[in-house]
Amino acid sequence: MDIRKLTRLLAAAAILTFIAAPVAIAADLTDVGYIDQAAIGALPQFQKANAQIAQYKGQLDPQFAAAMKGAKSQADQQRVQAEFQQKFVTRQRQVLGPLFARAQAAIAQVSSNRRLSVIVDKRILVFGGQDITKDVIDLVDGPGPVVPPVATPGPSSIGFVDQTQIDQVPKLKSANDDFNTWAANQRTQALKEMQGAKNDPKKEQQIFADYQKKLTDQQQKVLKPLVDQTRDAMSKVAGQKHLILVIDRSDVIYGGTDITKDVQDALK
């Protein structure tokens, strides 16, 4: 092989390598799947279970009302509420728990078979991705137990955060609580002014506009910096973990990379 041929070959190989690289990345993105949760919820066994729970709630309601009548102190009322809530949750787990577990195992099995690293809710994926709804329904409806895969899903370039947990970071929680108290006071004040307006639509409109402006201004002043800070922290953590996008936990059905703890730490 002469040098010129070799140089041409190397140049071609180099070009090919760089051209192929993004394609390889693009190919990785086929590991995103989605599911139509409404279709799963519409399965007869889920509907039957929901009807059972509704029936149970119908029986529980009069008992709860009677127990609340007998509860004299606030502590008694709280105890009664907790007791009935617990009863309801227990029944929910008894009735729906096995169905959810079967569906979850089916989702895991289909994901593993198709080598998917993350399954999201259909509503948030507007283009592409693999629809696994039918496969999951077939498994859920099929005979015999559904065996979940041994292996956990592979690393995903899609991350997620549990925003309800992020909101519990002390400085965020404190800011939110302060804002809610302030907003409630503003509302009371606006209501008083509304009553003073004595059915004058122009005055009422002005009061409402002022009230809305105050809320927006305060949100911009107090909450927006924290929202920006949180978003920056999410982007930074996601970047460090080589994630491409971060979505909310509630939209993730299976898999994905959980960065909630890292974001919480970054915000402390």
Partner: protein, 432 residues
């Protein structure tokens, strides 16, 4: 040999370089994944002002409903609130018209795309504009005209029925009040006659004694002390008679006052009962007409002319185009009907408030709450429609740019391709 080893090493190095190159999320070469910031894209939607308007109305009504105080309205306030209701009605009409126009554009574009695809599949080229122009038959302006005419008729009818209602209530109220006045006057006359009779009877009882006293007083040979004694006795007689009549008068006045209150309560009850009956009839008439208007609008929308398909196309293609046109027209009609029904629902709530304001529906409490619920439904429906539009545009953009996966509702995006600008441009072009 050495050269081959060097080449292999270089290839390995290049491959490593390529691997190291591929994992950075913000690398411009990371392609295949995109996302759209839906909330930002929606702000560029031509119907965003309508969405904001709906949200503002909901917030304002909620706040007002919480603080609604029972402050009596003056005539000027009633007039002002009537104007306000009319303004809201006009805003609802404009909103419905904008939504209808938008829907028409949307269906036109989708039908055009479907026709292009059908023509291309049939080897007839890809220009679907000529066949689609026939879609103009099913325009929102036609639907608007249908609705506007129906609404104008309904409003005229509503005004005449409410005027009749008010006149009937006034007449009934006048008749019943006059009857109560007559009964009161009759009773007062009876009592006065009774008092006069009593006065006469008491006077007759004392007539002999009074005559005797007067005769004695007529005697001139009488001491001053004697004369004073007779005069005092006569005055005592007068005072006793007056006291008896006065006591009876007071008793009669109490009875008359109680009777007047009883009459007022009865009259008020009768007026309310009659007015409630009249109002119920009025509401039934209005509801019947409202239903009739809805049926009429639906029927007129259904009756719009089919599209004229160009005759120079092959029969199979014409058949396909007719099918597409029928399908989109049917979808548009159903969708337009939904918008019209939503508008009618808002209008119905405003009508109830109008009727309450003008005294034709005392039982219209909760109309404002119903209006909030209705506006909320409209707001949600409009919002979902706008999100669907964003999704469709995102799909088109994603296909054009060769992406593999596109998300909405991302909370952070250190990598990936932001398609929001492209989608916004597409959405803004809808307005043009």
């Amino acid at each position: 040999m050495r050269l081959s080893r060097a080449a292999a090493a270089l290839l390995a190095l290049l491959a490593l370089g390529a691997c190291a190159h591929q994992l950075k999320p913000d690398d411009p070469n990371v392609r295949g994944i995109g996302y759209v910031r839906v909330e930002d894209a929606i702000k560029k939607h031509p119907l965003y002002p309508q969405l904001s308007q709906l949200q503002d109305s909901i917030d304002a009504l909620n706040l007002k409903a919480l603080g609604a105080a029972a402050v009596p309205r003056t005539a000027a306030q009633i007039a002002q609130e009537t104007q306000e209701l009319n303004r809201e009605l006009k805003a609802a009409q404009d909103r419905a018209n904008s939504i209808l126009r938008q829907k028409q554009l949307d269906y036109q574009q989708r039908e055009q795309a479907a026709i292009r695809a059908a023509l291309a599949a049939a080897g007839q080229g890809t220009d679907g504009s000529a066949p689609v122009s026939a879609m103009q038959n099913v325009t929102a302006s036609q639907a608007q005209q249908v609705t506007a005419q129906a609404n104008a008729d309904f409003e005229a009818y509503q005004k005449s029925v409410i005027d009749q209602d008010n006149a009937a209530v006034r007449q009934i109220s006048g008749q019943l009040s006059a009857r109560a006045d007559t009964a009161y006057r009759q009773r007062a006359t009876q009592l006065q006659e009774k008092e006069s009779q009593l006065g006469l009877e008491v006077s007759q009882q004392d007539a002999a004694k009074r005559l005797d006293l007067r005769m004695k007083l007529g005697n001139l040979a009488m001491s001053d002390a004697q004369r004073k004694q007779y005069r005092d006795q006569l005055a005592a007689l007068d005072a006793r008679e007056a006291a008896v009549v006065d006591a009876q008068r007071k008793k009669d006045q109490q009875e008359l006052s109680a009777y007047q209150q009883q009459l007022r309560a009865q009259t008020s009850q009768q007026i309310n009962a009659q007015a409630a009956k009249i109002h119920a009839d009025t509401q039934a008439k209005l509801q019947a007409r409202r239903n009739e208007v809805s049926r009429q609008v639906a029927s007129q929308l259904q009756g719009l002319q089919p599209a004229a398909i160009p005759s120079n196309l092959p029969a199979a293609t014409r058949g396909k185009l007719e099918q597409i046109d029928k399908q989109f027209k049917s979808q548009f009609q159903a969708d337009a009907q939904k918008t019209i029904e939503e508008y009618q629902s808002t209008k119905s709530d405003l009508d109830a408030q109008y009727a309450a304001l003008h005294g034709a529906d005392g039982a219209a409490t909760g109309a404002a709450n119903k209006q909030v619920a209705s506006l909320q439904r409209q707001r949600d429906d409009l919002y979902n429609r706008m999100v669907d539009q964003v999704k469709r545009d995102a799909q088109t953009v994603a296909a054009k740019r060769g992406l593999q996966v596109v998300f909405i509702s991302v909370v952070a995006a250190p990598g990936g391709i932001d398609l929001t600008d492209d989608v916004e441009k597409d959405i803004e072009s809808l307005q043009q």
